[in-house]
Symmetry: C2
Subunit: 338 residues, 2 copies
């Protein structure tokens, strides 16, 4: 299974590191990285497989991905040309999420699907905006489009539902999906102001892009849309999500939650009730015996109400680039298994 | 995929009810029940598939499983003969767990494996005592032996690790694996004595067999052994597990846990530390921010520390026969998918 990696920021680099670290797994599954395509830091292709350790070493030294000249790989000038002309089995798409247009990921994914290539993506923006179009594209070509990395970072949610809950109908979903917001609310819970907590989150480097996409709930809403479409087959649009971020959360709000015996969390909620569909992202007070209430810091989680076995809760203690990269690898392994 | 059900107590009956309720799933996966074998309530076999609704109706009326004469199925006298002579693809083994000898499940499973049949079992006793022998048998014949129902009831644990955490090394395991003990401790947490809580648990009908296997921690220990072998490849025996049950837990212990800001739970623990292997089942005070501390009543859960993505926690709100039966169905579907 020859992998072309498109985009090599923190998640892409973590993916390469994981390929190196878990060499026994990738070797036994015959997974090899044949290309890395970036738009500003060079492109490299080697049909026999790139030495990932060397790639990372030279990238660290030069900031470029095409510094591996001595390895005999092809150096290319155009990332899109690689996508369209070179040979690979699965595209791993890691470009930054755009929550307004979904580009360039949408176009990149479409091009790969049109060539009959499998696609694995971490792109929450593109998947939330173009889920139907992209899934349709994968179905038409009979290839896989997997997107575990778009929600819950490294913690398996879609694979849990696919393999662990077959035949179950998910009737309600609650999630803490944005690690940055959860971190900020946790720090505020220990007595810091919003601004202090925000600075602390930035120091921890968790917001690569515009942090307001996180803070204002848009990133969580995009994830909620993907869940609604993928797990609950709902035909909805992000415009239908009632979105409230945490920008205006005050110490008073945090204290009020404590007084009420709970914790303030940014909760994604999807519920079909007698009034119709309730799909929202917003601060909620979760009582301390709520399965998601104990999630602190960058941990994330989801609670599913199923028709067969009641509630199932899954959570993970971390949600950084390394964990997200693991979901990309899981999806590649899943395609390999068929 | 033709299913032979061996044993039809509460889990077996729930399995039949699930086949009926989720007819769309079983039909699309071509799963049909061709036989039910019991040692005291009759046996029935129909190679074209048994009408499960009729089976359940007549079983409710007569207490017998061979009351479906008018359907034209074969009525047999001997459960073992069915296992050894009749045609089926997968055995679903649901006889009561025996924690000392693992019988009759061990022999039943072996016979099916020797005939090259896939096996799905809910038998914690047999799997904890004969895991190596039975897995070896399945490998030799190139068939599947799945046992999701033996631990965490309906909540997927082994499938989570298999499909959701490929390549991850589980470094530590903590679990609340026995729903009955968790229920008793929860009721005690609300002010009841052990005896009152025990009676309440029995009223709720959760202990089919000798309740002391639950109370004294043996059932949780058997589950812990299966986890240790299956998820952590440890070569251990139940005799190596340090087992303390909840028989002697007092109101004072519960109050002490509260004073210390935590909850008393029966915790299964597997950890490899500098002193070697620590594998135990016993009452522990979990602090309120422990991911398993919020589990109340019959809920169950597990916390895995992995080498790649840190901690992953999965839990379920219920652990009765219905949920256990769902794990059997999940395993059958998983074998069908291949």
């Amino acid at each position: 299974m020859r992998v072309l990696l498109f985009g090599c920021g923190r998640v892409g680099r973590s993916f390469c590191e994981l390929l190196s670290r878990k060499r026994n797994i990738t070797a036994s599954a015959s997974i090899s990285l044949v290309g890395v395509a970036t738009r500003s830091r060079g492109c490299i292709y080697n049909p026999y497989g790139i030495d990932v350790d060397n790639l990372l070493k030279w990238e660290a030294l030069t900031g470029r991905l095409d510094a591996l000249l001595h390895e005999g790989g092809l150096i290319l000038n155009d990332a899109d040309e690689m996508l369209e002309d070179l040979d690979y089995d699965v595209l791993v798409e890691c470009t930054p999420s755009d929550f307004e247009l979904g580009e360039p990921a949408r176009t990149i994914i479409k091009k790969a699907l049109e060539r009959g290539k499998h696609v694995v993506t971490a792109n929450t923006g593109a998947m939330s905006l173009y889920y139907d179009e992209l899934m349709e594209g994968s179905l038409q070509r009979g290839v896989s489009l997997l997107y575990e990395a778009t929600v819950l970072s490294g913690t398996p949610l879609f694979s849990l539902v696919r393999e662990g809950l077959p035949g179950c109908h998910v009737k309600r979903f609650e999630g803490i999906l944005n690690g940055t917001c959860n971190y900020i609310l946790s720090v505020m819970g220990m007595g810091s102001s919003f601004d202090e907590a925000m600075l602390e989150a930035q120091r921890r480097g968790l917001s690569e892009q515009n942090p307001w996409f996180d803070i204002d709930g848009l990133e969580a809403a995009a994830k909620t849309v993907i869940v609604a479409k993928s797990m609950m087959s709902l035909d909805i649009d992000i415009k239908q999500v009632s979105i409230n971020g945490i920008r205006n959360v005050t110490m008073q709000n945090i204290e009020e939650a404590k007084r009420k015996g709970g914790k303030l969390k940014l909760v994604s909620r999807i519920e079909i009730n007698s009034d119709g569909l309730d799909i929202s992202v917003g601060p909620e007070i979760l009582s301390l015996n709520h399965p998601l209430a104990y999630l602190e810091g960058f941990s994330i989680g989801a609670l599913l109400l199923t028709d067969i076995i009641g509630e199932v809760c899954i959570s993970g203690s971390s949600s950084g680039p390394k964990e997200t990269a693991y979901s990309l690898l899981r999806d590649v392994l899943s395609i390999k298994r068929g």
